[in-house]
Symmetry: C2
Subunit: 79 residues, 2 copies
């Protein structure tokens, strides 16, 4: 079972992408963790280290996939 982490900040674009990811991802292969930065601001630095530059973003292993564009990490940190 691989780990998938979906990072978001509660924006409308994020919510649409979260719905897609949570419905479309194969539960037989991935355990999905959803991180809302407003609830877990301590995860921001770790996400940036992984290469997350904007939200919403999906991290699978070492790969970062930015899905559409909701907000930059600078916006996330300023909010």
């Amino acid at each position: 079972m691989k780990k998938a982490v979906f990072y978001h900040a509660g924006c409308p674009v994020c919510v649409t992408a979260e719905d897609m990811v949570s419905q479309a991802i194969d539960p037989a292969k991935y355990s999905l963790e959803v991180v809302h930065f407003a609830e877990k601001p301590d995860q921001i630095a770790a996400a940036e280290l992984k290469g997350v530059k904007s939200v919403p973003a999906l991290v699978l292993g070492d790969e970062v996939f930015h899905i559409n564009f909701g907000a930059s990490m600078a916006d996330v940190k300023a909010s």
Copy 2:
């Protein structure tokens, strides 16, 4: 079974995203069609009508998800 269409243009960013989508998407819920614009240029106009603005992009129903950024549709049409 819902239909998922992944549009790409063969760029490195596209290939990485295609690997992710084809591995991560739940085969119990989605039948995945992959459209390479260089092979199927007649699909370009239909993709733009769905809202595809850059590749790689994943269309699930009426929703378009641009995954990272490989090339704009203008680039695709110029190539």
